[in-house]
């Protein structure tokens, strides 16, 4: 008899769980057509996707499901056909992805900036380097001399890929570095910045994307960590969009994936990306092929106005540019 009562209790647990599930499903609402997007943590964590995706969801009457992982993982999901479209920042891996026939095409979308961060007094002297690879060379020289340390992501992230390419540009091979000064952590970007702050006594440097750096500054967790070098085009971090090949993986949502890729490189979307600010800084700089920034449009318009039609032809102004100039003019008049 007692055992029966226990089973009743177990049934009660089950009913509770089923109720929870039911409530959860009700809250979930009705299913719309959905697009599965694999992207890097930076686009989600910076808040950019929350800012731009609602416009796409409205226009295409759909839902975008975002899976934010490292670029390497995202590309692997794409190869296996587990997602519909990729937005990543790992140029070499993207080229291999397209060459392997895994993607429909690749389009440039935007870039953000990497920065070298370290102690305020910059003992490695990176700040007056002529370029990023020279800054890295100085860290290497001071590192092997025991003056500074460098903390590496040492994972499959786009940031790590960029770091390796910078060492290579400086003529160095990171796999030969001694762990006396070169620490391979396997941490995410934010955690790595906190790590460097904790180890500032060791004069720890690292490479970070600027968005994560500004975020941690705003959070107040890295008061003594500064940007010691930035601005070299070598430190641009290019994001591209690639729809997964629907011939190879027929179940992917081809229409929405291609629609999304085309939408990202449209002038309006590019301007939307340019208008996004967080932590008091612009984080992403659109650079799709054919994108013209609003400020250059105004300059362009003034230029055309002062030219004779024949001269305009001579300067080989693109037809599209003229159309965009007209739009800029309208915007100016408003």
């Amino acid at each position: 008899m007692k055992l029966d009562m226990k089973w009743i209790a177990v049934v009660v647990v089950v009913i509770l769980l089923v109720t929870a599930t039911g409530a959860y499903l009700l809250l979930k609402g009705e299913e719309k057509q959905s697009l599965l997007l694999a992207t890097t943590t930076s686009t989600q964590d910076s808040g950019l996707l929350d800012y731009i995706l609602p416009y796409f969801e409205d226009e295409f009457v759909c839902e975008v499901d975002v899976i934010a992982v490292g670029s390497g993982t995202a590309i692997e999901y794409g190869k296996r056909g587990d997602v519909d479209v990729l937005l990543t920042h790992s140029p070499a891996a993207e080229t291999a992805f397209i060459a392997g026939g895994y993607g429909e095409f690749k389009k440039k979308v935007m870039y953000n900036n990497f920065v070298i961060v370290g102690p305020t007094d910059d003992p490695a002297g990176t700040s007056d380097s002529t370029n990023a690879s020279q800054a890295f060379l100085r860290i290497y020289e001071n590192g092997t001399a025991g003056n500074v340390m460098f903390a590496s992501r040492a994972d499959n992230s786009g940031t790590y890929t960029k770091e390796l390419s910078l060492w290579a540009k400086a003529g160095l091979n990171a796999s030969t570095f001694s762990n006396d000064w070169y620490e391979e952590t396997g941490l995410g970007m934010g955690d790595l910045l906190d790590f460097c702050e904790e180890k500032l006594d060791d004069n720890e440097y690292t490479l970070s994307d600027d968005a994560t750096y500004y975020q941690r500054v705003e959070q107040g967790t890295i008061p003594d960590l500064n940007i010691t070098y930035s601005g070299d085009p070598l430190l641009f971090n290019q994001y591209s969009v690639m729809p997964v090949n629907s011939t190879m993986h027929p179940h992917v949502n081809h229409t929405l994936a291609v629609g999304f890729a085309d939408w990202l490189v449209e002038q309006e979307t590019q301007e939307l990306i340019a208008s996004y600010e967080r932590y008091g800084h612009r984080l992403f700089f659109p650079n799709a092929d054919g994108y013209v920034s609003p400020s250059s449009l105004v300059v362009g318009y003034v230029g055309i106005q002062t030219l004779e039609p024949s001269q305009a032809t001579a300067t080989q102004l693109k037809e599209t540019l003229i159309v965009e100039n007209a739009r800029a003019l309208v915007r100016c008049c408003e």
Binding site: L3, A9, V13, K28, V66, R80, D82
Partner: protein, 216 residues
């Protein structure tokens, strides 16, 4: 930052995934543990050692195994359940089974040793004696469920790997905590941790009352 995802939904999904994984894991693990504990067979010691070894099975490996299984390029890809709560339940169940099996073995062996002769002397059939042992091992069996539930409600590696932490679909409390931490919203992450503990507290209160037979 106040995140725009639905906390209630995230909490319910956590409870749902962990709850169902615990129930299925226990439904498999308890009979399996009783079988291993009470039946004599060759290689029993090895089977027990392997079961206890699997206590240390890394969640992210369970996630990876389930990912390969349900990936579109994997053997069960046609089911189309990768990045859904169902895939999360499968991965979490794999983590629950060894724990429940192992604790059940320990509990029934303990009880069996103390009452076996008495039960035999009273002339019970072997089926009756197994039922008696299970009834006496009740406290240990509920403890097995508790520990199994504890492992999966707090687990993040497998949930992230096969769920994908998709807002409104597969985001659970642990993956939300991970996301907030990554975004630097440490206070919000801590608050979510408190919610998770509150959920665990309610479940454990219920299970403890069940264990001590105070509920009924």
């Amino acid at each position: 930052m106040i995140s725009d995802y639905d906390l209630v939904q995230v909490t319910l999904l956590s409870l749902y995934v962990s709850g169902v994984a615990t129930i299925i894991g226990s439904a498999i693990g308890i009979p399996l543990g009783a079988l291993i504990g009470l039946k004599e067979f060759g290689g029993k010691g090895l089977v027990k050692t392997v079961t206890f070894t699997l206590y240390g099975f890394p969640p992210v490996l369970s996630g990876l195994a389930v990912f390969y299984l349900f990936s579109h390029s994997g053997p069960l890809g046609f089911l189309d359940i990768l990045f859904t709560p169902t895939a999360m339940i499968v991965a979490e169940t794999l983590l629950v089974i060894p724990l429940v099996t192992g604790i059940t073995i320990t509990s029934v062996v303990e009880v069996d040793r103390s009452i076996k002769d008495t039960v035999k002397a009273l002339g019970a059939s072997s089926r009756q004696s197994v039922l008696t042992v299970m009834r006496e091992a009740w406290v240990g069996l509920i403890m097995a469920c508790m520990i199994g539930f504890g492992r999966v409600i707090a687990e993040v590696g497998a949930a992230y790997m096969v769920g994908g932490n998709i807002d409104g679909k597969t985001r659970v409390l642990t993956t939300a905590i991970m996301l907030e931490t990554r975004m630097g919203d440490f206070e919000w992450a801590m608050a979510l941790g408190v919610v998770l503990l509150a959920v665990a507290f309610s479940v454990y209160l219920f299970l403890r009352l069940l264990q001590e037979k105070e509920l009924l």
